[in-house]
């Protein structure tokens, strides 16, 4: 029953008239709705649990008894956490943003410039060159991680970096690869630029003596701004949430990103773990991305959907 209704096809959307539905369909719809709402609450629950646990005392958080919401919520937990020098919360956000800004500014330039060349300029072996770039998407990070890590160890040794105060050295292995662009973004923008930049516009720019770089800067970029923005937001969230590579390089608290700061909070597990702080940190780290998603939702969904629906 519930299946029947839940699976109601697309066309009923516009003329979904409750009164026209059969009794069986109505029952099915109600059951499906109950399932979906229960599911939504399950989705929300871990976030609720983060906040609720954050507001508990350490004893309450470690209690065998179920406490859904603490009797005396400790709202100052967030302020205490942010101000704690051991957690290094704000400097970690600073490091995260440092990676975000440098990588996205320069990486977007590299990616869009390449996309413009692939979309609009004449090029021999175009497919082959694109294939070469795309092949970087096949290689998992685990397969390039060790050589890059060894190269990094070699370089900090070579330049005699003071590892007690290494800023910004350990951040560089996370930044430099991104400066050369993001093939996912390039790929997305090739399609966007093909669709939204008329060849006639480029032809007339050529006749006016505009350089190819000017065509890119003054025609291609402005015309594909929404598509670029969609990819930038997607990339921003990706870097914010990145954890594997940062956890390898960022062992000194001075260079921690937010996610690494969170893991170190979590791995101090065992010796009087401060669960409310771990939860408060996780919640604070999640909120900015949730806000970004709510604001830029359509752009975001566009970026996600592009990958899956493309034939």
């Amino acid at each position: 029953m519930s299946m029947d209704m839940a699976l109601k096809p697309v066309k009923t959307r516009r003329n979904s008239n409750w009164h026209k539905r059969s009794k069986g369909e109505k029952v099915g719809f109600v059951i499906a709705t109950i399932f979906v709402i229960f599911g939504a609450l399950t989705m929300l629950f871990p976030y609720f649990w983060m906040v609720s646990t954050a507001l508990k005392t350490i004893a309450e958080a470690n209690s065998v008894q179920l406490i859904l919401w603490p009797a005396k919520p400790n709202w100052s937990v967030f302020r205490d956490l942010i101000n704690s020098p051991a957690v290094n919360f704000l400097p970690s956000i600073g490091n995260t943003l440092f990676i975000e800004v440098t990588v996205i500014l320069i990486g977007t330039f590299s990616s869009t410039l390449a996309a413009f060349a692939f979309a609009k300029l004449k090029m021999r072996h175009r497919r082959l060159k694109l294939l070469v770039l795309m092949s970087s998407m096949m290689v998992p990070y685990a397969a390039v991680m060790l050589p890059q890590y060894r190269a990094y160890l070699f370089l900090i040794n070579f330049f005699k970096v003071d590892m007690s105060n290494p800023w910004p050295w350990p951040l560089l292995p996370l930044i430099i690869p991104g400066l050369f662009g993001n093939i996912g973004m390039t790929f997305f923008l090739i399609t966007a630029m093909k669709g939204s930049i008329p060849d006639s516009l480029l032809e007339s720019a050529k006749i006016d003596g505009a350089s190819y770089f000017r065509m890119y800067w003054q025609i291609a970029l402005p015309l594909t701004k929404p598509a670029i923005a969609a990819q930038v937001i997607f990339w921003f969230v990706g870097i914010w949430n990145d954890f594997f590579a940062p956890s390898i390089y960022l062992t000194n608290p001075k260079v921690w990103t937010l996610q690494v700061a969170l893991t170190s909070l979590n791995s101090s597990y065992g010796t009087g773990t401060n669960i409310p702080w771990i939860m408060a940190g996780s919640f604070l780290a999640s909120i900015p991305m949730i806000i970004v998603f709510i604001i830029f939702r359509n752009m975001f969904v566009q970026s996600v959907a592009f990958s899956g629906v493309k034939e």
Binding site: S136, M138, L146, F243, E311
Partner: protein
């Protein structure tokens, strides 16, 4: 500069070919940065990893010795590696559940007149939350002593303990929870591409909703399903945060990438870890090539 002088004396046809050559040169310049990035961070890195997998590095003496296939032999005999491979594969069992539920959810939301925006937002939250935060909170939800699940249901299960299956059940639940949002969004996009006429025609012919779902919706969504399955497998093969953060290195959740990380970064056994990562990469590259071919991804 030089080129401009030349063009003055050339015939129009030749001038045109000169322009094209100029255009080609510019185009190659424009793709130079990504190409350099590819050469260093993919090709050279991957190549060096491959070379490294045939060597044995001694971190104390800083010596590298060529040992042919010894690392691969050790690897395939290593019970830890076999366990990691088995865990990685078993943990992917949540993929079909997530995809099925995501499809049902998308179809439901598609037909909803009101509230679908809020619901899809809630279901999408895990996709924008970091793996760190997600694994931390689920770690405490499944905690044996004071976790929510055990207290709420009055259980005494050591979810993240030594038991082989409990930790996997916990990770399946977490996996479905994490994957629903992306599945739903992609299926919603796919559903929007199905023309309404198909359903109208089927209705006229007396097909039931169920028959329409089986014979129209599912086949027409198959490119999305294919993409979801492939990306989920590729992602699953690379899972690391589950082993590291959720399970804190507990045996039953150690994955291949965790093994590579532990042997390579933690123990400096670069050769052995590289052999493991080369095997993993080969596998992922094959799957990706199948996907690229099937989706004609290069026809842009």
């Amino acid at each position: 500069m030089k080129e401009k002088d030349k063009t003055k004396t050339l015939t129009p046809a030749k001038r045109k070919s000169n322009f094209t050559r100029h255009e080609e040169r510019v185009a190659n310049l424009f793709i130079l940065l990504p190409m350099i990035g590819f050469l260093i961070f993919t090709l050279a890195s991957f190549g060096f990893g491959f070379y490294q997998s045939f060597t044995n590095f001694n971190p104390v003496r800083q010596e590298t010795k060529w040992i042919w296939f010894e690392n691969y032999k050790t690897l395939l005999k290593d019970k830890n590696f076999k366990d990691a491979a088995l865990n990685t594969v078993l943990l992917m069992a949540s993929i079909p559940i997530g995809i099925t539920l995501g499809l049902l959810l998308a179809v439901y939301l598609k037909n909803l007149a009101k509230g679908s925006k809020l619901l899809s937002l809630l279901y999408y939250l895990p996709a924008i939350t970091s793996a760190v935060a997600v694994n931390i909170v689920w770690r405490y939800i499944f905690n044996a002593e004071f976790g929510f699940i055990n207290s709420f249901f009055g259980l005494k299960i050591d979810w993240i303990g030594v038991d082989f299956w409990f930790i996997k059940i916990a990770l399946w639940i977490k996996g479905v929870w994490s994957a629903l949002g992306v599945t739903m969004i992609l299926y919603l996009a796919g559903l929007n591409n199905i023309p309404l006429e198909y359903y109208e025609a089927a209705s006229v012919d007396g097909a039931s909703k169920w028959q329409q779902f089986i014979h129209i919706t599912i086949p027409l969504l198959s490119p999305t399903t294919f993409y979801l399955v492939v990306t989920a497998i590729i992602g699953g093969l690379q899972s690391f945060a589950e082993a590291q953060i959720f399970a804190n290195g507990q045996k039953g959740a150690r994955t291949i990438v965790w093994y590579i990380w532990e042997r390579g970064i933690y123990m400096s056994k670069y050769g052995l870890a590289s052999a493991a990562s080369f095997l993993l990469a080969t596998f992922i590259i094959i799957i990706t090539i199948i996907q690229f071919r099937r989706t004609k991804v290069l026809d842009v």
